[in-house]
Amino acid sequence: MTTATQPLAAKPTLAGTPWRERAEEALIPPFVALLVALICGDLLILSYGQSPASVYRLLLEGTWGNAYGFGQVLYKATTLAFTGLAVSFGLRAGLFNIGGESQLAAGGFAAALTGLALPVGTPLLLSLPICMIAAGVAGGIVGFVPAYLKTRFGAHEVIVTIMLNFIVLALLNWFIAGHLHVPETLHTPEIHAGVLPRLADIDPRFHGSAANLALVVAVIVAFAVWFYLFRARGGYELRAVGLQPQAAEYGGISVGRAWMRALTFSGVIAGIGGINYVLGYKHYYEDGFAGGAGFLGIAAALVGRNHPFGVLVAAFFFATLSQGGLAIHAFVPKQMMDVLQGVVILAVAMAVPEVRGILRGARRRTAA
């Protein structure tokens, strides 16, 4: 057997897809989607006989334009950040967690119970971690059930998480209405420990807004998720399972275990989100406090392109729309913002592949 002449190996370089190209592909589609949503918003506002310019100005003034409004945006963004991160974490493993709503509620409920049980005057450094663990465990249990049913019996996680929403929320309602509520209300008594400082305690201009320390927790969780996904072996394996389960299996990764981890921790993240309302805002658990934030988290995850930092930005954006709806209520119905949310989600879903194609086509033409 004659040995073939080895081709001269080219010198390896670190050159890959240029950064600019990758940044463009990540950022331009959401902005195109935003533009589409703005145009739709213009048409809607015009249909109410109002001037789009003045309504948008009002929207900005009511949200980013003053400290209170901005604080409220931050408060709403905090819960959305948690639920968005939860959904995106599951999606990275290829699983769609629709159970954010009940995981969030379960987490809030557990945080409130813990806060009630801890003695008055427990220092925050102790009470906050304990309440967070309780919230995380509660959310994690709700996330574990679909994970177990999927790996053990092949039950589809979308169906199970949706159905669990009904079960868990009904159970919580039963607990509150039957056992724990303050008479004439549907909430627990106020907690004694674990109350989070508000933004207003640092800067009095935020007076009245509900933004609180949970915002910092959300940012830390986002960093933790990013680190896990892109730096840890577990994240390497989890993303591998999400991208190509058969290749992951070939690589010695247990697909079932990765699924368990992804859905359970997705529940944990959503559960911790419960502290924003319970520890940071009302200081009690109230039936129905989640108010759709679990579902809007799906939108935040999609618009944020499943990247933890993208999810933070998307949560901030959706929080702005939601708060802005209140600001412009005098001129146009605030439901218009719900419509706009829907338009943004649709536009992102469509714009991502479309805009990417156009970008690549344009590059091709300039290169040719």
Partner: protein
Amino acid sequence: MKEREAGGGRREAGNQAGFSVPASSAASAVPPPASHLPPPAIRMEGIDKSFGAIRANRGASLQVMPREIHALVGENGAGKSTLMRILGGLMKPDAGRVEVNGRDATGWSTNEAIAAGIGIVHQHFMLVPTLTVAENLVLGCEPKVRRIVLDYSRAAESVRTLSNETGLVIAPERLISDLSVGEAQRVEILKVLFRGAKLLVLDEPTAVLSPPEVRELWTVLRRLRDNGDTIVLITHRLDEVVDLSDTITVMRAGKTVARIKTSETTPAEIARLMVGRDVSLSAGKRVQPVDRATAPQPDQGLEVGGLTVMGSRGIRVIDDVSFTVKPGEILGIAGVEGNGQTEVIEALAGLRPVFSGTIMVDGAEITRRTVAERHDVGLSHIPEDRHRRGLILEYTVANNLILGVQKHFSSHGIIDRDRVMENALTEISSFDIRPPSPVLAARALSGGNQQKVVVAREMGREFSVLLASQPTRGVDVGAIEFIHQQLLDARAQGKAILLVSAELNEVLALSDRIAVMYRGKFAVVMPAVQASEEVLGEYMIGTKKGTAA
């Protein structure tokens, strides 16, 4: 576009396909063919086509005469498919001129191409699995009763007629999902013929076929040619080119480097034209036994005893198979696809549960171990399907190079990115992966280089037993040669290698011993020196059984 509308001069007589585009006035720019000779069926001149910085075609040309089988050969990425896409109207060339049967077809549409009788049979099947053969064939032009109800019997009848005319025999009422790969391909060819194609382009038609199926296909293609059709065969298997074609066009790096008569050339010359240097061809070669100073330990290597694997319907897809692969030995498994080769490898690799039997690697039993534990005892595995199993296409080359050994590249659960990058740079240079960038997504690499990533990962680390399944499938000549050399080097270093390949040549050239799988059993195990394509072929189709002398 303009030229085409302008002219109206010459019209080709005898154009059965109903080519209605008027001939171009620009045709006069090209010297008219001598009157006694028919114009070439395809004439492509000076074709340029770029995608961004990549120039797929640069001044490529192709001339195919009517009623010939023309092989278009070249390595992956040489520009063959781009050229054919331009011919089929799927792309417009940046520059150059295309003529079909003597008239201008530059930048035409797919509909015009189909109307002109061009039919492209794609490498990947485009059939609806839940419909029958007849339904698939008439899709888009269904014969109907009173314009509403699909006329099944007429559809089936016309399929049967065509089937008989061409020798592409297939029952029209069978479901696509029930067909074998070879049968599905017959349907693909019937489909383009059904639409009136007289000029067939087949893109890598034999990539998924067994030798008997290939021979059948050759018979059909020859018959089609004799009936007056023109055939362009895209391939990089040189034996096929020599077997079948009348004329050969060789492409390299987007250019046409040669147009030769098949009778006047040799496989070695074609290979040299394709790669641009001398290539050692494995065809017809046999490995020499490796000299060993000491006899290998009796329990070293791979030892499989009574392996039985159950299929989806309780059938034994592997039925009581026993064999050993000693260090420094390559055991080749030949066989028609679907006789259990995939299942054997998957069972050994830990991807498929074993019903009964034992698997030992270097004396350690691994029958019930996990994939990761098998890695640790020294089992490496080049999977047959790199897109589905072997690579995570969205991951970078560097990240793909640690798939399966990610544990060893991390400490305390954190991936050591410096070591991952270092490892990638080493493997990229020692396995000549191009482009040599560790941060590129695996998807961006050509098929041959993707396979090199898999080979680099599995062979670049410590191992004692290698499962190599279709290690050169869909890979160009240069990369095949490289991978073969890697396998032989590993053998020389005393690794035990189990090789499964649909390429009989490959099995014959690399193996010390050859086993033929037939219906979940080894029909025969024989030393490679006693084997030949003819001998193995009989065992493969089941006409001969039992151990050879």
